[in-house]
Amino acid sequence: MQIDFKSPQRQSILGIVIMFADTLQGVIRAMWAPLLIVLIKLEPEKYIIVGLSFIGIVIFVAIIAFLRYRNFTFFLDEDNQEFILSKGILNKSRINIQLSKIQQVNINQSIIQKIVGVYSLDIDTAGTDKKEISIRAIDQDLALILKERLLDFDNKEEVLLDENQEIISKENNTAKPFIKISYATLFKVGITSKYGRTIAILITFIITLYQTFKDAVDTFELDESQVDSVFEQGLGMASVMVLIFGLLVIVLLINIIRTFIKHFDFEIIKQKNSLVVTSGLLAKKNTLLNPFKVQITSFSQNFFQRKLKILDMNMKQASNSEVEDKQKKSNVIEVPGCDAEERNEILKIILGKIPEKGQEFSPNFRYLIFRILFAILVPATIVVLQIIFALENIIFYFPFILAYFVIASFLIYFGYKNYRLYSNSEFIVLKHGAWDVENEIIQPHKIQGITTKQYFWHKSSDVGHLTLHTAAGDVHFHFGNFTEIKQLVNYWLYQVETSTENWM
């Protein structure tokens, strides 16, 4: 068989079957609700009409499948080192992919494809829709050859590294860990971090519990007023306090347990140019961290952590689409509870040096308006209205209302005070957060694109928003001085466009 991808070619002829299955699946997914209703409410005298229309749909789908098959072509342009894919019946698309940009080529087989005996070939470039570049039906031999051709381009070694990102390494035992987190530190991390997330999980848990309880009451037809009154009697002021205290203890306990499970025996070992991170109680996880792949480096610290002299570090790596969909977190490597010195060591390895904070940029006071309006003014109005119309006995809730306003004001104020952007020729640092104060560090040459945004009512006050797109996510700076932002953008563009460094 002469294999030549130079001229446009179609998929395997069996592709029609796959296209048919795909299209049918799409139709059913879009219309399952009405279809179900039709089937359930079906009267015997309408069997023929429904049957005929069903056949009609199948024929229609078949025609579409055929057209999709016919219009789907791909070929390899060897002169330009491009892979070109055309598709679409009414809306036509042509996608060009530079061979050097291809990161992975995956050959898969679904159940239907297995039955028919074809494979699908998906091409992965950094950060794109996976569905965009996929050949749905191709013979195995052809797929393997095409894969080889697509990857037959220099410097593919990096890709190999990527695939081995999570390895179990045995030889490392000899190397001395350069960072090791002790149990005492893990305990400190447990009691000081991630309150928000644990509380959110707890609230969902309690709501589900309450719902189940209510369902039980409904099914057993208990007298609801009885149950409700039990609740109300129990909800005295003192018991509320006990409840809150209990919740706090539970939150802390959950935090400590989770920290121990996740970060047990946390170690970082230096290995040539990269770091090997090992941790975990139940399942030991080994991760290879290549400094070049880190796009955003960040460290954060809250008030308690500052007192205990510990901080959390995060290294966000370039994520491809697959990871982005399922679990974005998995491409983040976390170092819990390191001290300032260890942080500096890690920063030196990843960024080459300890970043200095450059020129400072602060947000406009307009940053506050929106937040004050929604977190303070609107609730305050509701409270005042309640008092005026005396709809409920508000006095009972007064301590909570007061606590809410105090906390909200603090969060807004510190959120504003900590919101800063720093820039010098080597690093961009975004500092933000009211409680957990996070510093996100980006090197300008890791920027993929920049977006600026300005609402028309901000034009006269020269206020605007900035978004830096990196391969590990976006970083925003809102309500900055727009003249300054524009100047920075021009500078960063200059830096990216003259940079010869690889972003990964």
Binding site: G127, T451, H469
Partner: protein, 173 residues
């Protein structure tokens, strides 16, 4: 090493993205937008018609008036906002990057340096094809938020832009 220079960059002498002249979309693209608006409005009209026809509780003159007036207001808003937003869109190709500006309430400008483009796609919609227009989509590693989609470019011009981008990508390998 002789050619190595490392002078201080004068921030004010850098090319300014905000002073670039953006080229508007092709004027025929408005016609495509008209067709799209017409189809949307037709579907909404049919939906309202079906609702009124089958729901006997709504078959009073007052309801007809309410639905009619809301529909008209909706149609006018959709029509003018769509046209205004098309007129606000523009793109510019510089030596080393591509800029795309859009937005009615806010002006959003996205800038993608050529050496960060991953790949390029060209889409032709049914109606766009009638007017010989195409859409260019530029993918970066920054994910969907930084991808740029520019509709309403003459097909030939779109081909040229794509060709140019592919060339630039190649040169940066």
């Amino acid at each position: 090493m002789e050619n190595f220079t490392n002078e201080i960059v004068n921030l004010n002498s850098l090319p300014k993205f905000e002073e670039v002249n953006f080229s508007p979309l092709h004027k025929n693209y408005l016609k495509v937008v008209y067709i799209n608006i017409a189809i949307t409005l037709l579907i909404v009209a049919i939906a309202i018609g079906v609702l009124l026809y089958f729901n006997e509780h709504l078959q009073f003159t007052s309801y007809y008036l309410v639905f009619g007036i809301s529909y008209l207001v909706f149609a006018v808003i959709v029509f003018f906002s769509s046209i205004a937003s098309v007129k606000k869109r523009g793109f510019a190709i510089r030596e080393k990057d591509i800029l795309y500006k859009r937005g009615l309430i806010s002006t959003t400008t996205t800038m993608i340096p050529f050496n960060r483009v991953q790949h390029v796609a060209m889409h032709e919609g049914v109606f766009s094809r009638i007017f010989n227009l195409a859409q260019i989509q530029i993918f970066t590693a920054g994910g969907s938020t930084s991808d740029v989609k520019i509709s309403g470019i003459e097909k030939e011009k779109a081909e040229n832009i794509k060709e140019l981008l592919m060339q630039k990508i190649q040169n940066h390998v």
